[in-house]
């Protein structure tokens, strides 16, 4: 059962998806970055959001 922080994070991811600006693959990357209670640094997030969408980077 998720705690409050997990529930808020889930809503955060759902809102990101609703904006339509992030692919499912990018949302998955965001989930992985925060998985297991990890606390990513700003530079990790800058790198993630600066990268092309995963499917676009395929040849």
């Amino acid at each position: 059962m998720a705690n409050i922080q997990d529930e808020i994070f889930e809503q955060f991811c759902q809102q990101l998806a609703k904006t339509g600006r992030f692919s499912a693959a990018k949302i998955k990357q965001i989930r992985e970055l925060f998985a297991g209670g990890r606390k990513p640094k700003p530079n990790d997030l800058v790198k993630l959001f600066s990268e092309k969408e995963p499917e676009e980077s395929l040849p």
Partner: protein, 268 residues
Amino acid sequence: MIQIESVQIEEFRGIRDLTLTMNRGSFVISGPNGSGKSGVVDAIQFALTGEIGRLKGAGTGDLTLAEHGPHVEKRSDPEAVRVVLKVFLPHLKKSASITRTVKKPKHPEITPDEPDIRNVFAEVAGHPETTLSRREIIKFILTEATQRSRDVQTLLKLDDIDQTRATLKITENKLLAEQATAKTQADTAEDSLKRHLDLAVLKPNDLLAAVNKCRKVLGLQEISKLEGNIVRSYAPMQALRKLRTGEANTTFLYVADYLTRRSAAPAA
């Protein structure tokens, strides 16, 4: 909702061996300072969540459950540090017990080991705000209005959310700064291209025509569309080398003069 029937505490915090029977009712613990009242609250919280709230958060420094959970005489024997909580679950109409040791705080022993009972304990463990210490309650009462929202977050164990929000804000600022830099570079490159090709606006067809005009001067074939790396051609490099070595004919001199004038001209 759960109702506590009893709690059995062994070698936990300042308590060597204590069993309290609550019989599913509300209860009050009283006693002199240092007699272990908070230890009982810590033990109940530990049994339910595997954590001790007051060993975490601001001002707790290097305090850890492994080192500061056991009684001072049992720090080297975390397996002996045990809390057994017997509870009644009204909505399931079942009694159950949960046992935790400091050695394996995240792996409680639940009896009876049934899925619906496990789910109840898992939900409680995911909501550590269900157990509030005296310090947390007093801090919330005495806090100033401007700090109250932050303290509510602390009570609800939402400190990480605040930290993540700050991290996201820093990330946003960094990305906006990078975007501004990239835009400036793009604008500069566009201005430079317009100046060199003598174009007021970079429309694809005009750009293609201007490029082909330059390619014609350099003796290159016309191209039908603009793509990356099209200027990486051997002929222009040869032409530039001849210009530098004085082997240029009048055509090359014309090109050099053209490019020099375009470079020196003010931006369109």
